[in-house]
Structure formats: structure tokens, C-alpha cells
Subunit: 405 residues, 2 copies
């Protein structure tokens, strides 16, 4: 098999962890696999570098920040290559430019345009292991770029696509995707497999195990991702495009996100384009609006509610209050104590049926639903944060997700 392995910061965070990680790679190469590796910076290193830069200038140029932080992965890649050589496997470290990661020139959030990795493939086929720095590349002028936080997952998937790997193994400190958070529901079960679409929903709901972007890229090229633990050698969760709905329960899992806030604007004169006049400036400020609900209230007036990440609450409120004064809206209300709970599943045959069951379950628990939104494979409700655990447990049980004892 041709494999790309990705290891995060904790997997290369100390010399002991580097040795353990190298052993995993060694075993795979000894078994006759062709292997390339993508690594993050040693845990803590990126923050150490950023702190130095920000101590000099909080508004340091993005180009220099990229040049600075890209050294973190270069260090871990070289150290891992040294250990692999010590074990008797020929191994070479490559930074983003050397590995052929061509990106656009958007520093700190560059997009990969191409991965020219034929030279890495030649090493893999010779039983040698290229160790590639995640999270980085170079633009056409050779300037160092980075893909943004968590970009190493995307690097790994992009490399796997470039070398036509059979699978992209993403090693992390969790051992897979669960039907819900085991800290809330001890009966939560590890999913053997999950579709790209479901994984995107889980990821966007704050399951921080895989970067959304990397899942989207894998989906586009149909590259299977095996999300697994770097601490124990057990199967994790396979993220694929294969039809896995056959014998599945209609719901795959229950996800939640506590870090939400809600902004409501009451009594806006109801005119075409009103949503854009409010949400446009919010998006321009870099604030990620999620659930949006709009209702007609009194004659000629409308109400609008939307959620934003809790970190952006204060900024959003200030911005919306200015906009509403201009538009002569009645009033603006906010609540920074809400949360989202979603049920997710490609097996969701009937949205209406699933949604009604969800509302019944929550109603039985006397949980008030503040907002509702649905997508093809997801139903999300916004509720008071204090109900999160109760809602997740009730839904997990009601949709038959509790593992058999």
C-alpha cells in the first residue's frame, strides 16, 4: 500500500514521542508499504515563535510571520528524519517549497495550487521515507507561505492526492470519531466509518480532530482519510466517499458546540436586500455567521436572528447596533450564552420525520428550542447553553446510538 501519514504536534513534541512515532513508520515500511510523512511543529513551538514576533510588533507583516513560524515544522521534520535514519530507513526532510507545495501568495491563509512531488514518490518507491513539513508552501516568487492553523491536515491530504496514496492516515490524540462526546455520553461508540459530508458537519461543529478544509479536499479527490490514534495501534474512523448507509441507523451522531452567541434584530423595515445590508458588513469584518432565521413580525417589519462565535459577540453587537441605528430598526438584543446541538447522518431519509422526533425528544425534556436550521444531512437547534448535556444524552439515546452494553 502507498501511505501518507500525518503526525500532529504532540506526536513529535519530545524526543521520546519522536522515537515512538518513528517506530510506527518503521513498522509500516518493514511491512512493505510505501510511506511519506507530514509533520506539524513540536507542540508549543508555533506559539513560542508567535509570541516572540508579537512581542516585537503585534502587527508584524504576514510574510515575516510565515517565514518565522514555518521553521517549526522544519525542525520536527529534520528530527524525525534523523531518527528514521538511525533505525536504518533512508529518510529526507523537505520543507514546503522543497516538497513542491505551490500556493497562492495569501500569507497566513495560503491555498495550495499544486503539489509537484514526483521526486518524493521516487523516494517512496525506493523504500525511503520523505518527511514533509505540514502547513506550508511557497508562492511563485519563492516566498514562504503558510496555510493557516491546522493546515498540516490539508498538507497531508494534498500530498496523498499528489502521490496517489491508497489512504491518508491522520494520527492524532483521539482514536476516532464518536457518535457523540464520550465525556457527556459514556455509551458513545466509535464510528468505524463516516462519509466526507458527515465529517464536514462534525468538523464544522467543533469536533476539532480534522480541519474542515482537509476534508473538503479529500472529498473532491475521493482520498480516504483514516483518522486514528498515535498512542495505540487500533483502527480509528475511516472517512470515505463510499456508500456506507446500507445498514446504518438513520443518524450517525450527535454533535454540539458551546461557543456560540446569538444576535436578534427586531422591527427592521422589511425591504428586499435587508439581510445583505446587515450580514454583509458582519462578514466583511471577518465574523463567521452561522444559523440565520428571519421572520415577518408586524405589518411591514421583520425580525432577524443569527449566531456568531462567542469570541466575536462583542464586536458583532457593536457593529449591528450601528447598522440598526442607520436602518431605524426597533431594537437589538443579544445572548452570549447559547449553544448548538446537531444530529447528523447521511442515512437521514426523511428530514421532517427526523426533525419531528428531535423536537419531541427535546420537548419531553422541557428544553426550549430557540432556533432551528436544517441541511441535507443535519438538523441543528440553538438552545440555552445549560441544556447541552441533557439534550445530547437524550438525543443519543433516542436515536439508538448508545452502544450495546
Amino acid at each position: 500500500m502507498r501511505l501518507v501519514h500525518k503526525y500532529g504536534g504532540t506526536s513529535v513534541g519530545s524526543l521520546e514521542r519522536i522515537r515512538a512515532t518513528a517506530q510506527l513508520i518503521y513498522a509500516d515500511v518493514q511491512s512493505g508499504n510505501e510511506v511519506a510523512v507530514v509533520v506539524s511543529a513540536m507542540s508549543g513551538e508555533t506559539n513560542r515563535l508567535l509570541t516572540m514576533a508579537h512581542d516585537i510588533d503585534a502587527a508584524a507583516p504576514a510574510r515575516e510571520i510565515d517565514a518565522l513560524v514555518s521553521t517549526g515544522e522544519q525542525v520536527s521534520a529534520a528530527l524525525l528524519a534523523i531518527e528514521l535514519n538511525r533505525l536504518g530507513i533512508k529518510s529526507y526532510s523537505y520543507n514546503g517549497r522543497q516538497a513542491g507545495f505551490c500556493t497562492d501568495a495569501s500569507h497566513a491563509r495560503a491555498r495550495i495550487k499544486d503539489v509537484k512531488s514526483e521526486h518524493l514518490l521516487a523516494h517512496m518507491q525506493a523504500g525511503e521515507v520523505p518527511v514533509v513539513t505540514g502547513f506550508q508552501g511557497a508562492d511563485e516568487q519563492g516566498n514562504i507561505t503558510t496555510l493557516g492553523r491546522g493546515g498540516s491536515d490539508t498538507s497531508a491530504v494534498a500530498l496523498a492526492i499528489a502521490v496517489k496514496a491508497d489512504v491518508c492516515n491522520i494520527y492524532t490524540d483521539v482514536d476516532g470519531i464518536y457518535t457523540t462526546d464520550p465525556r457527556i455520553v459514556p455509551q458513545a461508540a466509535k464510528l468505524e466509518s463516516i462519509s466526507y459530508e458527515e465529517m464536514l458537519e462534525f468538523a464544522s461543529l467543533g469536533a476539532k480532530v480534522l480541519q474542515t478544509r482537509s476534508v473538503g479536499l479529500a472529498m473532491r479527490f475521493n482520498m480516504p482519510i483514516h483518522l486514528r490514534s498515535s498512542f495505540e495501534d487500533v483502527a480509528g474512523t475511516m472517512v470515505t466517499g463510499e456508500d456506507i448507509a446500507m445498514e446504518r441507523a438513520e443518524i450517525t451522531g450527535v454533535a454540539y458546540n458551546r461557543d456560540e452567541a446569538k444576535v436578534t434584530i427586531k422591527g427592521i423595515p422589511d425591504q428586499p436586500g435587508i439581510a445583505a445590508r446587515i450580514l454583509g458588513p458582519v462578514a466583511d469584518a471577518g465574523i463567521n455567521v452561522d444559523v440565520i432565521v428571519q421572520n415577518v413580525s408586524a405589518q411591514g417589519f421583520t425580525d432577524m436572528t443569527f449566531t456568531v462565535p462567542r469570541n466575536d459577540y462583542t464586536e458583532t453587537m457593536a457593529l449591528v447596533q450601528r447598522l440598526c441605528a442607520d436602518m431605524k430598526a426597533e431594537k437589538v438584543k443579544g445572548d452570549d450564552g447559547v449553544a448548538k446541538v446537531s444530529i447528523i447522518g447521511v442515512g437521514m431519509r426523511s428530514h421532517a420525520g427526523v426533525a419531528r422526533k428531535m423536537f419531541d425528544v427535546l420537548s419531553n425534556e422541557n428544553i426550549n428550542i430557540q432556533m432551528i436550521t436544517t441541511s441535507e444531512i443535519k438538523v441543528t437547534v440553538v438552545l440555552d447553553e445549560k441544556y447541552v448535556e441533557l439534550a445530547v444524552r437524550a438525543l443519543h439515546q433516542a436515536f439508538d446510538l448508545d452502544a450495546a452494553e
Copy 2:
């Protein structure tokens, strides 16, 4: 003026030092100069990285060590560029490959083949400051190479030659070259200027302020080096090819090196090629033989004495004892308590006269000379280490180097 500034590890060793260094550069740019900067890694950083590598494998591949340690300069270059931008000067950091440093593929001791720095020159002419990582480049395949310890001086001189700078300013923690070590002779005077040849002799005698290789490169392209303090804005010592002998004393300075050892082989059968049969294997072992003296002793036999760095004494003795057993030499003697003292000067008109005066001075102090060697601009004696201070003081005074009080 077009200037290349080189700053060592202490000049970028902390955020405070980076700010101070940036101020110096800022002042030079404000005065209308075109400036490029070469930096070393923050002091201690190269050792930190090497320790990690050696903790994994003491015999780590040179390619990976180069990839690893090259990050040290990338960090300091980016941080300095950030501070220069904060001060309002457009500045960009460049690693060795980005700056156009093309080297051969000899990792850890790469030689510069070419510096393609037209893009840096364009920045300089626009009033912008490229900050280039010292000590590194890339080979034809794009592998990262390093020039060896202290290679940043060589990087700076090479860049100065490439951009046709008027002078290469090497900032360090000493403020220039003195007629001798001021710790031994308080009357030692700072030299306003010194020739490349003299600087080479001082450098090879352990005046660790400038890498020998950088001086050789500057001499070949006639690039003036201004060796000066990064802690105070005073003129240092100019290293140039100009004729500076006009009104000079015949001797420029007195240098010494304590870290010497001496090996004597007695009663070797005197045959052609005997020196090569002994010194060849010593050189092959990477040991740097310096002063060599050979004498005929009894009929058909010869004696040979040579010096080596004290660190290599034990290895040299073991090696020479094996060789001499093969060659049936009479015996091998060693002494790891010797030192070299040299008088240096391009103004040295008559070697015989200068040498005789040197021997008289030492004789008057009852210092026994063990070995003598001369070059065009230097006379060196090997003596018991305990006489070093006495010899240096006596010679400094006798050759009229003591500064006027």
C-alpha cells in the same frame, strides 16, 4: 554608500538586542545608504538545535543537521525584519536559497559557488532592507546546505561582493583588531587598518573575530571589511588590500595561541617521502598539523617535530606511535603544554633582521625557543606555554607597539 551589515548571535540574541540592532540599521538607511543585512542565529539557538539532534543520534545525517540548524537564522532574520518594518523601513527576510546562495552539496561545510542576488539589490536601491540568513545556502537540487560554524561572515562578504557593496561591516562583540591581546598587554592599541594577509595570520592564530575563509574571499575580490562593535558606534578596524605600509612600524602585532601540542619522532630511517608517510595519515584523520620541523640527526636517521591543536593530541600520539612502530623509528615524544607566539606585519622588510630581534628579545627574558617557522609576513616560535604572557609583553614593547601613554 551601499553597505552590507553582518550581525552575530549576540546582536540578535534577545528582543532588546534586536531592537538595538534595528536602530543602527535604521540610522544608516535614514542617512541615505543602501543596506542589506546578514544575521546569525540568536545566540545559543544553534547549540539548542544540535543538542536535540545529537540526543536522537550522535551520527545524524549531515543533510538533516543542515536542514535543522538552518532554521536558527531564519528565525532571527524574520524577527529583525519585523522590527525594521515596525520602525517604518520595508524589510524582507530571505533564507539562503531565497537570497540566491548557490553552494556545492557538501553538507556542514558547503562552499559558495554563486550568489544570485539581483532581487535583493533592487530592494536596496528602493530604500528597502533585505535581511538574509547567514551560514546557509542550497545546492543544485534545492537541498539546504550550511557553510560551517562562523559561516555567516563568509555569507556577508559573499553578499557584499554580489551586490557590489562599498564595504562589508561585520559587527561583533569586540571593537577591532589590537596589536596584541589587551588582557596581556594593557598598552595594546587598536589598529585603524590591517591588510587581508595580516588579518589571515591573526585569524589563523586564534583571533576569533573573523572567519579565515571570509577574509580569503574578501581578499580575492578586494572587498573592504570593517570589523566593528555592535555595542558602540565607534570606528573599528578596516581590513583592506590598500597599501597601508607607508608609515607603519615593521610589525603590526603580536599574536599567540595557547591550545597547542607538540609531537616529536626521533630516529626515523631517513628516506625520501618519510614526511608524507607520517603526516599523510595524520591529515587523513582530520588533524590540522601546523608548524613542522625536520632535522638530520645521526647518520642515515632524521628527527621530526610538529604541532597539532591540543584537542587532537591524544589521537595524534596514538596514531603516530602505530606509524613509528611500522617504520622502526627510535621513539615518539609528546608535549601538550606548548604555545605559539607570532609577530606579524606586511611591513616586515627583512625576515632575518626581524627574526633575529625576536630571538634576542626572548633570549633576554630567558625564554627557550623550541621551534621556529617563518612566512612572508610572520615569524612564529613555539615555546613552553608558561612563557606566553612574558613573551607577548616583551615583544610588544620591543617592536614599539605599546601605545603612547
